[in-house]
Symmetry: C2
Subunit: 340 residues, 2 copies
């Protein structure tokens, strides 16, 4: 029915823009498991990888389309006949630092292009992958981060602010599309994702893998600062479920946080990874490494996800211990070893 | 001397990107009065106008270059041999609402292009026109707005947030250029500009002219809400001086507010304009007009300009009464009547 923002997954077709990725592949699996008629993974393989989708690529209802979000023609073809589009394609902070021109193109013009393609093809609903980076960085970021928390930037490196501001702009482009042509959408503000098929691109998630690798080599894991710095991760399977529920729910014209059950300090994280690795040396406390982009927040914070429950009925289910256990089990599998 | 961020105005050449404008023409006059060897006004005349520069166009040391910030070739030619570049070209909120694609291009890619052109031509210093829009809108914006105040967006229309976020990105591109290739720059966060050669494009400044026009027609001026809403304007001549001082000062890698002596409430503003117009009907209090983009702030705020004094020695000199007197005198002149 036209004008109904709820898009059932079973029997419908979905396109995941930036699909050859950690979140893209997990979401494709989730949508296929729930009866999607087809899932199109659209990717230019600049950051996406064959490894991220190797386990899915022979699925009969999955189609891989090589294309670029900067090319309208590619997007117009890929989104034809789709009931829903998940817009994931983005540069994150590390790549934004290396190539701000490319990053701003993809994170801003790429979102505009995707929205225009959805308009042209009458796609019912867009789910846009935003980030808790819309709350920014630095000492101002503390306490409960709720959907109305402003964007802090004092003390943050340019690339991090560029990333956060580009996500703010992507969100507003969705709001503008809703106002101007009634495009239904849900924005999910992902916190840092981790899990099976973990990649090496995201500054915070990378830290988990680096820590694990160090412990496995018998080296002491590094803790930056005093270890009290907060991180709030979300398990990739929980995010895949959030993406599916965003399509299925009646919600539209809304932005909500999707974070894991609870935050963790850096020291707690390192201890947990060490324990799951079967033990290892005590961590060493070090200063910042020069030349490396690191994202520091002020003190303790928690990314509140209660709004996501109200809007789309979602709440995270996998805690850090279980999520890390799954990540490490994958890492030790043939697939994980091949990916490393 | 290389590496000295102070660029004397006398004897040097300057390019003003987006120069056929209120601030551009005033700054050109200021730089020429202080002995600049040449001032290039670069504009595509999308928003700029011949009227804004008619009084200057026969100046022997002024050169008008028609060109577009989206065309690198145009910028590379215009910035050749320049000691300083003032980057003014931008869409503001009203035009961002009509054309977000064009606005994001100019406000983001345009700034990247200008910085790249400055790098190629070894321009010593860039002054970037940012905005108090980097503090955002809505009820969160109150009290003293200082350079570290975060970006608030709850309750603001998409176009306003796009504008503010695009200015945040422009600022970070300057910071990135400083870090990556040592580009000296000063960011001035302009508050709403008004003064002679006032145009009809900016949501807040427009209100002054609309009010004056209504009073002159014998109509009651409109006050939106209860009239207690704060505005903090800056007189265009003060801004022209700030731009000059930003070039001349030792300051680099810094962003400061440039606002007028004090904020004013909407009701005070209407009473002042009515008084300067020689009297008129009492204002009427009205609700918001549907379909019109209006920028509302929460309660009382003040844009603090003390940092600008510390960084570049600037402080505003023209208060609202004097600035409005000058604006109205211009408006009643032959030039002002022709422009209306």
């Amino acid at each position: 029915m036209p004008g109904n923002p709820a898009v059932p997954v079973a029997g419908n077709r979905f396109c995941i823009v930036g699909g050859a990725s950690l979140v893209g592949s997990a979401t494709a699996g989730e949508l296929l498991d729930h009866g999607a008629a087809e899932v199109v993974l659209f990717d230019n393989f600049a950051f996406g990888s064959d490894a991220a989708i190797a386990h899915l690529k022979d699925h009969p209802r999955l189609r891989l389309v090589r294309g670029d979000v900067m090319r309208m023609a590619n997007l117009l073809r890929a989104t034809e006949g789709m009931a829903g589009v998940l817009q994931l394609a983005a540069y994150m902070t590390l790549s934004m630092d290396r190539d701000p021109w490319g990053g701003l193109d993809v994170n801003i013009r790429g979102v505009q292009n995707a929205l225009e393609a959805c308009r042209a093809n009458k796609v019912q609903k867009v789910v846009f992958a935003s980030s808790n980076a819309v709350y920014g960085y630095g000492p101002g970021v503390s306490g409960d981060l709720v959907e109305g928390t402003p964007f802090h930037s004092v003390g943050a490196p340019p690339a991090a602010i560029l990333y956060g501001a580009s996500k703010i702009i992507g969100e507003q482009l969705c709001r503008d599309a809703f106002r101007k042509w009634g495009q239904d959408y849900v924005i999910l503000r992902y916190s840092t994702v981790y899990g099976e098929r973990q990649h090496y691109r995201a500054a915070n998630a990378l830290y988990i893998i680096e820590t694990y690798d160090a412990v496995r080599r018998g080296e002491a894991p590094k803790v930056f600062g005093d270890g009290s710095e907060t991180k709030h991760f979300v398990y990739v399977g929980d995010l895949a479920r959030a993406n599916r529920m965003a399509f299925e729910s009646q919600a539209t014209d809304v932005a909500v946080n999707t974070s894991g059950p609870a935050p963790i300090t850096t020291l707690e994280l390192v201890r947990l990874v060490t324990e799951l690795a079967g033990g290892g040396p005590e961590p060493i406390f070090v200063g910042n490494e020069p030349g490396k982009v690191r994202l520091t927040s002020g003190g303790a914070f928690r990314i509140a996800h209660e709004e996501a429950f109200r809007a789309i009925g979602w709440t995270p289910e996998v805690d850090m211990k279980e999520g890390l256990r799954r990540l490490i089990a994958w890492r030790e599998s043939n697939e994980g070893r091949a990916a490393a």
